[in-house]
Amino acid sequence: MQTEMSLTPPPPPNDDKRWKLVQARMRRLGFQASALIETLHSVQEAFGYLEKGSLQYVASALRVPLSRVYGVATFYHFFTLGPKGKHVCVVCMGTACYIRGAKNLITDIEQTAKTTQGETSADGKISLLTARCLGSCGLAPNAVFDGEVVGRLTPSQVHKRVEEWLQS
């Protein structure tokens, strides 16, 4: 917020058009070091995850050490350093969901999709993630299937969804 910096960023790692979005976000925030988290958000929005090359680029554009970029990217749970599966299921593990059986949902998905919590299945089809709390506690247990939040889930509903993904 205090220091003046030149407003021309270094060229992006490749000519992917999505870098324009990232650059726009950095420019709006004046290429300051404090824009780091916002910039990582826009990289992840654009590319789905934070690749090593992306981290290096962000470090040079904002003039912060790569170690700090890596530190921030790994500190925050929201950032992910690897690609996700074709389908993503996020099971809410908030208190309300937990006491209404979220653990059973996870066990079921793990068995059906042959993956474990936090991982992507070997065929790259399904990622199983957990959320701290989606804030839809009134409809617990909840999960997000490819961006769609669904509440009042039963193991059989979850099973059906995952089976559909596997067959697709």
Partner: protein
């Protein structure tokens, strides 16, 4: 649209809105807050819009999206007849029948009576507009009396007078700690600094809490108005809202609200033609619970890892970029406009001696009426859980968890205490931000303690040793207890660790992390003993694999 310069300009907008409102005969309000959206209320809203169009009723019947109607358990919810008819579990097939009924009797099979305790026992200040206005339109907010408090503060009151009203109101921080808002504002206003910042903490991290997200998605302008008034009072020029990235709906609505307020000159330079200028930017959190702690939050806004630092200096004196910074929670700011309009004394009449006003709670878990409520401070837990919430038939209440991972579990014999900051602390829990998760006989209290310790262990930022190592050790012991591998000696160690971590951790996360264990030990010690000595889980939740191994 031109900038608003006076109270007359606001009234003009409100008058125009009222005219439009009166020109339609019926309004169909569809809840488009997060709970109902996950029950597909967006598709329901489309279905209503289509059917109204098909019947050529656009001129007399308006379909609107509104904020949270409260009773999430019965989602999706809609209301008609000025909010006097509330329908639950509405599906697109019911649309025709509801439109048919607008001029006649209500559709009884879908109707929820409004005189049930869930509604009649509430007092709404923060939620007054929720479910009544379209959160995506500033005009709706203005028509409901919005921004009148801002104009009053800026044109009729000095910053000192604003602070004195907030002090008189007795408003305390709604984020958890309950620090008097007036005192904090006064410290920031007196702090020396050429530039001052204001931060709205919308990093609602407690699992089981959804108050802030609902306010932001249902009535975002109320929070903005509270922030602008606070900025005027303390002399801040730049504001930030630190909001969870996991709440995309709140983020979208906030962004839109900020743009609308800027367009009308309610944010920006020389607001209402006065010398006062203020801007607000959003900063997205990235999923770190510790960032709810104010010094960690500051580090995060500055683009760094969210690790706390020792206080003092407090942010009120040295916060963002070492400048004086006022940090309050969403719900705290949302109380401000009404306090300014009605006066501090009006607010102070509600609540108890030391806890004034109303408090929102996210009621979840094993109750019939899960959802969002706002009640006067001092109401008993029993009233909230048994009367407003309601325990499902065939189940027995066991404990209520308040305050998230920093709070504790309160058993039935203590339910008659009034809900206020001090009483909850005395019971070994805390008020916290307002999450209230009800548990019945199907929950094992040791397992619940383990659940929260797993949370704290994973969310510990790692900066100080007691929290980083202590939470991990406590989690190990709880894992041993819940698998039948623990001895009574482990229990002693666990209690010692609780004491150590509580007294030596750097920030609130570590200092309060033992609360779930301490409170369950206090009220449900027999469950711990059953796990350790008899190798059984009374609730039948823990698998106790280790003891089985030992037996074979």
């Amino acid at each position: 649209m031109v900038a608003i310069m006076s109270a007359e300009d606001l009234e003009e907008i409100a008058r125009r809105e009222l005219q439009i409102k009166q020109s339609v005969k019926h309004e169909i309000n569809v809840c488009i807050a997060a709970g109902c959206l996950s029950a597909h209320s967006d598709a329901l809203k489309d279905a209503f819009t289509k059917e109204v169009k098909k019947r050529g009723l656009e001129h007399e019947c308006k379909v609107r999206g509104v904020g949270c109607l409260g009773l999430c358990a019965k989602a999706p919810l809609i209301s008609t007849d000025n909010g006097n008819r509330l329908y639950h579990g509405v599906s697109p097939e019911d649309v025709g029948e509801i439109i048919d009924s607008l001029n006649s009797k209500p559709v009884e099979r879908l109707q929820i009576p409004l005189n049930i305790p869930f509604f009649s026992r509430q007092t709404k200040i923060v939620l007054a507009n929720s479910g009544r206005i379209d959160p995506e339109r500033i005009e709706d907010y203005i028509a409901a009396g919005g921004y009148a408090a801002l104009i009053k503060a800026l044109t009729e009151m000095s910053p000192t007078e604003v602070i004195s009203q907030v002090t008189r109101s007795g408003l305390r921080g709604r984020g958890g700690a309950g620090y008097p808002a007036g005192l904090k504002w006064s410290t920031v206003s007196k702090a020396v600094g050429t530039r001052k910042f204001l931060v709205c903490n919308a990093d609602e991290g407690d699992p089981g809490a959804f108050m802030d997200r609902t306010i932001l998605a249902s009535d975002p302008h109320k929070v903005l108005e509270g922030m602008i008034i606070a900025a005027y009072a303390v002399g801040a020029s730049d504001g930030f809202i630190y909001v969870r990235a996991e709440y995309p709906l709140a983020v979208t609505r906030l962004k839109a609200a900020i743009r609308q307020a800027e367009r009308l000159g309610l944010l920006g330079k020389n607001i209402f033609g006065t010398q006062f200028s203020f801007s607000i930017e959003l900063r997205l959190g990235a999923g770190a619970f510790v960032c709810g702690e104010e010094t960690a939050l500051i580090a995060s806004i500055e683009g760094r890892r969210g690790t706390p630092r020792p206080r003092p200096p407090y942010p009120a004196e040295s916060g963002l970029w070492n400048s004086p910074t006022l940090i309050n929670n969403v719900e705290t700011f949302a109380h401000v406009p009404r306090i300014i309009l009605e006066g501090g004394d009006w607010f102070a009449r509600l609540g108890t001696e030391k806890s004034k006003g109303t408090k929102m709670f996210a009621l979840a878990g094993r109750v019939n009426n899960t959802g969002l409520i706002e009640v006067p401070m001092g109401m008993s837990l029993r009233e909230i859980i048994f009367n407003i919430g309601g325990i499902p038939e065939g189940h027995r209440f066991k404990a209520v968890q308040t305050g998230g991972p920093s709070g504790g579990c309160i058993p039935e014999q203590n339910l008659d205490i009034p809900v206020d900051y001090e009483s909850l602390t005395k019971l070994g829990s805390i008020m916290g931000s307002g999450g209230m998760v009800v548990m019945d006989e199907t929950s094992c209290m040791v397992d619940v303690a383990k659940y929260f310790m797993e949370f704290c262990k994973s969310e510990s930022c790692g900066k100080c040793v007691p929290c980083r190592v202590g939470t991990s050790q406590m989690h190990d012991i709880l894992t041993r207890i819940t698998t039948g591998a623990a001895s009574m000696e482990d229990l002693t160690t666990l209690e010692e660790l609780c004491d150590l971590v509580r007294n030596t951790s750097l920030c609130g996360l570590g200092q309060t992390a033992p609360n779930p264990i301490l409170s369950t030990l206090r009220y449900f010690r027999d469950e711990y003993i059953a796990h350790i000595e008899r190798k059984t889980c009374p609730a039948g939740v823990c698998k106790m694999e280790q003891s089985e191994k030992a037996n074979t």
